[in-house]
């Protein structure tokens, strides 16, 4: 467990370093996705399985897709530009880091001892009960945050399309 944690931590830090030092947005996003997946593995090792799944689904999936859409919208999307963005050499770094993570996950599955699996289900139950018990006001506040976020994003996007016409 300890060794797996340190390998995942090294992958996270390396990928994050490449994110903040890279020039190409698409390459930086590739590295950020790898960093988020490594962080999800760390969450799993810390015993937060649900958080690990959410990290991959929402951060690595939804939020990164938003970023990629915006990067694609910013520049003129031409085949030539994609070719310069996604050269084969750009895939080498993220692929190596992702392969390290894949090896860790394969080891976790092959080892078969999931010490945190036995406590996972009652813990999820406790999280849910606490979320809709003492933290219900937080859930309401989150919903009150999401609605202005939705309206704000819609407003900002709508004015843009009107001016473009």
């Amino acid at each position: 467990m300890e060794v797996l944690f340190y390998i995942a931590a090294a992958v996270t830090v390396l990928a994050t370093l490449r994110v903040i030092t890279h020039v190409h947005p698409v390459h930086a996003l590739l590295y950020l996705v790898v960093a988020l997946i490594a962080l999800a593995l760390i969450f799993y090792l810390l015993g937060a399985q649900f958080a690990a799944a959410l990290e991959i689904i929402i951060y690595g999936g939804a939020i990164m897709v938003l970023f990629i859409f915006v990067v694609m919208l910013l520049g003129p999307l031409a085949v030539e530009q994609e070719r310069t963005w996604l050269t084969p050499s750009a895939w080498v770094g993220p692929s190596i880091l992702a392969l390290v993570l894949l090896g860790e996950v394969a080891y976790l599955i092959a080892a078969g001892d999931h010490p945190s699996m036995a406590v996972a289900e009652p813990k999820q139950k406790a999280v849910s009960i606490a979320l809709f018990g003492p933290y219900i006001i937080g859930v309401e506040l989150a919903s009150m945050l999401l609605l202005p976020g939705l309206i704000g994003a819609y407003h900002l996007g709508r004015r843009l399309s009107k001016e473009a016409r």
Partner: protein, 99 residues
């Protein structure tokens, strides 16, 4: 226990995000650095929750996730507006308010 190294990792990630936020002038990278810092805070919450065996850490992670989703959707809309009006993503170019 993995909590202490996890907290150290959270500090390192937060520092990297802060360095990126302060050193980069491209507004898209500043947003990415913000995401990294939010992730570091979430990692600290998860590590704390694992250390004390409490569920509050994971609940705070859920709230951070919600906050990040709302923040990114609005901020990316602003990025699109800025790139549309100023034809650049350089944060120093947005100096109309003489800030």
């Amino acid at each position: 226990m993995l909590s202490t190294p996890a907290l150290v990792l959270a500090i390192m990630l937060f520092g990297l995000g802060l360095i990126g936020l302060l050193s980069r002038r491209n507004i898209l990278y500043m947003l990415l650095s913000l995401e990294i810092m939010l992730n570091a805070a979430a990692l600290a919450f998860i590590a704390g929750g694992a250390r004390w065996g409490q569920v509050d850490g994971e609940i705070m992670f859920l709230f951070i996730l919600t906050l990040a989703a709302a923040e990114v959707s609005v901020a990316l809309g602003i990025v699109l507006q800025l790139s549309h009006r100023f034809r650049t993503l350089d944060a120093d170019a947005f100096c109309e308010m003489r800030g």
